[in-house]
Symmetry: C2
Subunit: 203 residues, 2 copies
DNA sequence: CCTGTTTCATATCGAACGCTATGAAACAGC
DNA sequence: GCTGTTTCATAGCGTTCGATATGAAACAGG
């Protein structure tokens, strides 16, 4: 995972807060309350940083959110690597669903999924942010589709398998689990849903 | 479906707009842009009604949304009736998923699901509205669970069937399809996901 | 030390937010 | 036609929004 180059500091007064820690706090705030419905005032409280410092360190609210998302929502390259090294597409997707079930019900983070809920809807001003999040989801979908196609080509899955359908099913279950988690479903319920959805796979 | 009694008019200047039509326009605006991220200004434009008229006719933004949701998102009693008259739990859920797939990709309404996306996240000020929408989802879940339990009791489904798991799977797929639809998935893709998820059912 | 650079805390900015006060206009009943 | 009631359009209420101007404070280099 490659981070963008730390803004080159020439000289001057040193930063009085931990930039990475503040970014993580911002991410958690966006995760819990959504992009547009988290105000700058909410962010200053969560990050422990005043508004002008946020703007000099991260640009504006939009760039702060995008940086937080790209930093903590998981690099698609990491997912691609995990999928590539998995023993099968089935195992890879089952693992992804199980990880999601655990993540969405963990105590260290808000319930549900940042990518599924933070920009589920929004005003026209935030259309570009929604598009960026949707792009992230599409990247994940493409990775799943390719991994399934690989197993079909290798004869590990029946030739009549439709990779996009299985991928969309996995995505739908993932994002649906996010809503269930927000409604209070516990970890076992989500894990059961994840396992049940895998029985829809061939063989 | 029983509507709340129309506010009794004694006398006075008649309403200059169609209250039901305005309510539907408001619902569509909330559906597309979400509850908190649809402003009163957006609503006056969509409904063709000035702000004071909205407030005298519907109370405030919160009550306008709740009335729109309860009026158009489907009365749980209607769903319960459809489920009761269905030939089987499986058929009832398959029908629900197919209806959702068609609804989320229809041209007459925004993409996705009002109940899944309008209050996916939000500020603390709107916590009560989110709870009301979550309550609606829980009511739907209870109906599905009960219908599956009925089939298990009647021996139409294997005794080891876990009704809550199948119900949660159906809910997750439904709400996941909402995200897929918003990301641009077409009707056939959603119908395929709905059908694929049904192969997870026993027998 | 002094200069240059960057961040700091304070105090806002204009715009948009949800909402409402006000008085004229449009009806029903008498 | 007058009275009572309700809705109308206009204008603006106080608050919060995202974002900044300002000048003092904290460093590195010379």
């Amino acid at each position: 995972m490659k981070h963008p180059p730390t803004p080159r500091r020439k000289t001057g007064r040193p930063l009085s807060f931990d930039r990475d820690a503040a970014l993580e706090k911002a991410m958690l705030a966006f995760w819990e309350h959504g992009y547009e419905t988290t105000s700058i005032s909410d962010l200053t409280a969560a990050m422990g940083v005043t508004a002008p410092s946020i703007y000099t360190a991260f640009g504006d609210k939009k760039r702060l959110f995008l940086e937080a998302m790209r930093r903590y929502a998981g690099d698609p390259a990491d997912l691609a690597a995990a999928f590539a090294s998995a023993s099968s597409a089935r195992q890879a997707v089952a693992g992804m669903l199980e990880n999601a079930a655990r993540l969405y019900t963990g105590d260290a983070t808000p319930r549900g999924c940042l990518l599924a809920s933070a920009t589920a809807t929004g005003s026209k001003n935030a259309a570009d942010v929604r598009d960026a999040v949707a792009q992230e989801r599409r990247a994940i979908r493409a990775i799943i589709v390719r991994r399934i196609e690989r197993d079909v080509a290798a004869g590990r899955l029946p030739p009549e398998t439709a990779p996009p359908v299985l991928a969309d099913l996995a995505l739908a279950v993932t994002q649906g689990m996010s809503v269930l988690a927000r409604d209070g479903a516990d970890r076992e319920a989500l894990l059961a849903v994840a396992r049940a959805s895998m029985t829809a796979w061939p063989e």
